[in-house]
Every structure is written in structure tokens, then in C-alpha cells.
Amino acid sequence: MVYTLCFILFVIGLYGVTCKKNIVKIILGFLIMEYSVNLFLILLGWRKNGVVPIVEPDTVMEYFKTMSVDPLPQAMVLISIVTGLGTLILMVALAIRLYQRYGTFDITEMNRLKK
């Protein structure tokens, strides 16, 4: 059920990217898409009343296997946040340069390639 919410969030982001005409709204749409996938990954690793995934000498392995939180999605999300930061910076820089050239954030007015 919670996973469905992630997909709804993803589709909202997709709607923002494809249907909005303002560059800033497009960038926000990308952020929503990225965070929905990150949320999905974090929810995959989540367990109710979970324990830290570190094996110590006195850990009961049967309990550990059912209750430990999956650490791999957290590492993946951290990496995807870093790449998302890089892409976000590039997008913002492009948006600023585009505003400098065209004087607007509206993508429908950026049609010099077609002429």
C-alpha cells in the first residue's frame, strides 16, 4: 500500500516534467521523481522495530535475519542523492544561462533551433 504511494509520487513528478512549461517547475518535477524512487528504496529496507544490521558475537542469528534493517538501499539512496545533486546543479546552471539568453523561463518561447 505504501509502495503505491511512491508510484503516485513518481507519476506526479512525471506530470510536472512533461506538462509544465516553466523551467523551474520542470526541475522541481525531477526532484519529486528522484525522491519518490529514493523513498521506495528506503521503504524496501525498512522493518518495523528493526535492529541495526551489525553482527556481534552475542547476536541471535534467527532473530537478526528477520528483524535487521537492510543496509544496501540506504547506501544506494546516498549515492543517488549525490548524483541527483550533481544533475540538479547542472540543471540550475543551464536554467540561469537560458534565462540570460532568452529573458524568460517559458520553454515554449525557446524555439530558435526550429528556425
Binding site: F30, F40, L44, D70, I79, T87, L90, L94
Partner: protein, 495 residues
């Protein structure tokens, strides 16, 4: 060449070294990037007919990240590093005249090569996503490198479409991880064999098809191609057409289809129909273009259709045709983009209507573009003819005579629009042609000439290769793909 990590470490190290050193040594970016890509090309030649596994940090396969080298990946490594070397050689004079900041350019170019090598070698889905991001972020910056209004617009369009595709891929990886709790590709194969194909796997495959299909420029997802190719500097266009859409798009798509999800009749039909659509729509759109590079971009879409069609036939002969055409296409396509770069370098102009009579002034460019024209439109004995012939024979053998017919029609259309280029640029002249423009035009500088000549010679040799040794060179590739999922598991886990 067992140490596969050097394919990633060397170009990345030089990419980070260039900004530090180049403030003092002005010659460093030119020399180092050309030398390093040449060394990488030699390394990749050494991987031919060689299979090995490299474990990152010494961790074995299902736990750690591994690099897998088989026939298909070694062939892609050769293609990518060859095109990278040619692009670096060509950039020395080209970037000097048209752009200024060489330092950032070479740094980004080497990062793109790093990312592509990583995507080709890796055997781990999430690691592949990271290398994909490295190559793509660097290429967004390279496409908009001129910082003019058109460059920025093309770069933003390229970025938006490819970012949507990237997040589709990321969602697919997350779904597969949620289903099988592993990221290693071979381990995913064993899990699929154990638990069967269910709706999650099918949904993930659809997401992957859309994502990598966007990067491979198949027709419904091709909108970024013409703008990005037109706006980018010519060596970057060559690298985009010869390297990025093949290694990030076709290579990963074929690896996933043949070695991970397994080829089936439905997927074969999907590939064949999308391939035919790409061939015909790309060729028809190319006929009406008046910009040199934009025409080449639509031509690229059309030829990606041939490759997808060849792979989608599913038989070993079809795979052979697809791989051979992939190899040939990266050669003659980068040659054509270098030609357009030479024309732009000398005349400062890419509009076909305003160009003309360059064949006497620029003989090397003219002859090499003629060779590329013959190979791309399938005139014997050049290489394009043989690969198209193999695809047609494979299509008839696979019981799809209509797709063979569409291949022939696409080939005739290719002949038509390349005759247009030859007529308007090199032998005849356009409507708005001005005689005074071409008076003081000379041949391009020697380094640019060298890369044109090398690629032209390779195109000719590729044709001769087809007669004798095509199975010897491309046999390992066909084996790697046609072996299917079980062979991939055997390679990785060493059974």
C-alpha cells in the same frame, strides 16, 4: 589485460589531472588526452578473444561489484576507445579555432569515456547506473559547450528527455532489487530462473526498454537526437553517435535482453517493429533536412533501426549482422561527423544551401566523405554493404521477408539523401551559394586529416574483412549473446 579497472582509473585520473596541471602547461590537455586514449585503445585491442572477471576490492561475485569481460564487451570497448581516440585527435585543431576552453572540454570528454567503459564492463546493475550518470552528466555539459542560445536549448532538451529515461531505469533497478534482493546481474538471472517471470519482472523490463531505448534513439523516443547532434561540437557529435548511444543504449539493452531476461518471441517482435519504424521514419525525416549535421542525426536514427532489427531477429546470423553493422556504423558515422566538422572548420557554415564546390579545395575531406557515403548506403565492396546483406539474409531466414523489404527501401532512401549531401556540398552547389566564399578555403590541418584518413581506411578494410574473417572477429560476440542466460551465469560464477 586482466586488470579491467584500469579502463576506468586511467581516463578518470587524467580527467582530474588536466585542471590541476594545465594552468602551467598549456600543451598538456591536447597531448595527454590523445596519448591516453591511444593507450586505452591498445589495451582494448588486447582484450580481444579474451574472457575474464575482475573483482573490485577482492570481494567475490554475489557480494561485491565485479567487472565482466566477454566477447561483446571487448568489441564495444574497442569501438568506444577507437572513437574516443579519433575524437581527441580531431579536437586539437577544431577546438582551437571554434571554441576556447580546451581544459574543461578534454576533462569532460575523458569523463564521458570513463563512464562508457564502466557501463560496458560492469556486472552490477546499480554500478551501471552510476557510470551511466557519469557519462550522461558530462555529455549534457559537452552538448551545451558553446553556451550560445541554441546550444543551451539543445542541451536542456537532451537533459530533460534523458533524465526521465534515467529515472525510469532507476525505478526498474529498485523494483528488481525489491523482488530479488540482489543487484548482481548473474545473480538476478539465477533468481529469475528460480522464481519464474512474474509481473514485477515484466514491468521492470518495460521500464528498462523505455529507458535504454531513449538512450539508443529508437523512434518513439528519439526527440533529443537531432537537436543534441546539431548543437554539439563535431567531435562530441561523433562520440555521441559512435559511442554513447551504442554503449549506453544498444549494448545495455542487448545485454539485458539476451543475458538477463532471456530472449522470447514477444521481445523479438518488439525489437523488429521498433527497428522497422526507426529505419523508415529516420530516413524519411532525413530527406527533408537542409542542415548537414541534422541530416546526419536523422541518418543515425535510421541506422540504429537496422541494428535493433538485426539483434531482434534472434538468430545467430541476425546477431552477427547487428554487431557487424554496429561496428561499421560507428566507423562511418564518426567519419561523416568529422567531415561535417571539417566543413564547419573551413567555411563556418553547415547550411547545405549555402555550401558548394568543396571537392577541389578540400580533396581529403571530399574523398573520405565519398568513402563514408559508399559504405553507409551499401555499395559493394565497402563495409556497410556486407552488414546490410547479412541482416537481409538473416531476416529472410527468420521468416520475416517484409522486414527485409523495409531494409532495402531504407537503404535506397539512404542513397538518396547522401547523394544530396555530395551534390550540394562537394560537387555541385546550393541555391544561395556565393562563389567569393570559397576562394581562400584550404584543406584542414594535418591532425584532422590524419583522423579522417584512418577512419576512411578502416571503412575500406572493414569491407575486405567481411569476405574472409567476419566470423573470426565477431564470432565471440555472437557466442556471448546467443548463449543466452545460462552462459552468462557460467561466465560469472565460473561453472
Amino acid at each position: 589485460m586482466d586488470n579491467l579497472s584500469l579502463f576506468i582509473a586511467i581516463p578518470a585520473a587524467v580527467a582530474f589531472l588536466i585542471p590541476i596541471v594545465s594552468h602551467r602547461l598549456k600543451w598538456f590537455p591536447d597531448v595527454s588526452s590523445s596519448v591516453i586514449t591511444f593507450i586505452l585503445f591498445l589495451f582494448s585491442l588486447e582484450t580481444l578473444n579474451h574472457q575474464c572477471i575482475y573483482q573490485m576490492g577482492g570481494w567475490p561475485a554475489p557480494i561485491g561489484i565485479i567487472f565482466v569481460l566477454d566477447g561483446f564487451s571487448s568489441m564495444m570497448l574497442i569501438i568506444v576507445n577507437l572513437i574516443g581516440f579519433m575524437a581527441c585527435l580531431f579536437s586539437v585543431d577544431y577546438m582551437e579555432k571554434i571554441y576556447t576552453s580546451k581544459l574543461r572540454y578534454y576533462s569532460l570528454l575523458l569523463l564521458v569515456i570513463t563512464g562508457m567503459n564502466g557501463v560496458i564492463l560492469t556486472g552490477d546493475l546499480f554500478n551501471m547506473f552510476i557510470f551511466l550518470e557519469i557519462a550522461l552528466i558530462a555529455s549534457y555539459a559537452l552538448v551545451g559547450f558553446g553556451c550560445g542560445s541554441k546550444d543551451l536549448e539543445a542541451s536542456f532538451k537532451y537533459l530533460v528527455i534523458n533524465m526521465i529515461a534515467t529515472y525510469f531505469i532507476f525505478l526498474g533497478i529498485a523494483l528488481l532489487y525489491g523482488r530479488f534482493a540482489t543487484l548482481n546481474m548473474a545473480h538476478i538471472v539465477t533468481s529469475i530462473q528460480q522464481y519464474g517471470t512474474d509481473s514485477v519482472v515484466i514491468f521492470a523490463f518495460v521500464l528498462f526498454f523505455v529507458g535504454f531505448g531513449t538512450k539508443a534513439a529508437i523512434v518513439p523516443f528519439h526527440a533529443w537526437v537531432p537537436d543534441a547532434y546539431t548543437a554539439a561540437p563535431a567531435p562530441v557529435s561523433a562520440l555521441l553517435a559512435g559511442g554513447i548511444i551504442k554503449s549506453l543504449g544498444i549494448y545495455v539493452l542487448m545485454r539485458l535482453t539476451y543475458n538477463i531476461f532471456g530472449m522470447s518471441q514477444v521481445i523479438a517482435n518488439l525489437f523488429v517493429y521498433f527497428g522497422i519504424a526507426s529505419i523508415i521514419i529516420g530516413a524519411l525525416m532525413a530527406l527533408g533536412q537542409w542542415n548537414f549535421k541534422r541530416l546526419l542525426a536523422y541518418h543515425s536514427i535510421s541506422h540504429m533501426g537496422y541494428i535493433i532489427l538485426g539483434f531482434g531477429l534472434g538468430s545467430p546470423l541476425g546477431i552477427l549482422g547487428g554487431v557487424f553493422h554496429l561496428f561499421n556504423h560507428s566507423l562511418f558515422k564518426s567519419l561523416l561527423f568529422f567531415n561535417s566538422g571539417s566543413v564547419e572548420y573551413e567555411t563556418g557554415n553547415l547550411n547545405l544551401r549555402k555550401l558548394g564546390r568543396l571537392s577541389e579545395k578540400m580533396p581529403v575531406t571530399s574523398v573520405s566523405s565519398l568513402i563514408a557515403f559508399f559504405s553507409t548506403s551499401g555499395i559493394p565492396p565497402f563495409n556497410g554493404f556486407w552488414s546490410k546483406l547479412i541482416i537481409i539474409i538473416a531476416a529472410i531466414q527468420a521468416g520475416r521477408p517484409f522486414s527485409a523489404l523495409w531494409v532495402v527501401i531504407g537503404s535506397i532512401l539512404t542513397l538518396a539523401y547522401f547523394a544530396k549531401i555530395q551534390r550540394y556540398v562537394f560537387f555541385g552547389n546550393g541555391d544561395e551559394f556565393d562563389e567569393s566564399q570559397v576562394k581562400d578555403i584550404k584543406e584542414v590541418p594535418s591532425l584532422m586529416r590524419v583522423s579522417l584518413i584512418i577512419l576512411a581506411v578502416l571503412c575500406t578494410i572493414g569491407g575486405l574483412l567481411a569476405i574472409g574473417g567476419v566470423n573470426g572477429v565477431f564470432g565471440p560476440v555472437v557466442n556471448a549473446l546467443a548463449g543466452g542466460t545460462n552462459q552468462y551465469i557460467g561466465e560469472v560464477f565460473g561453472k
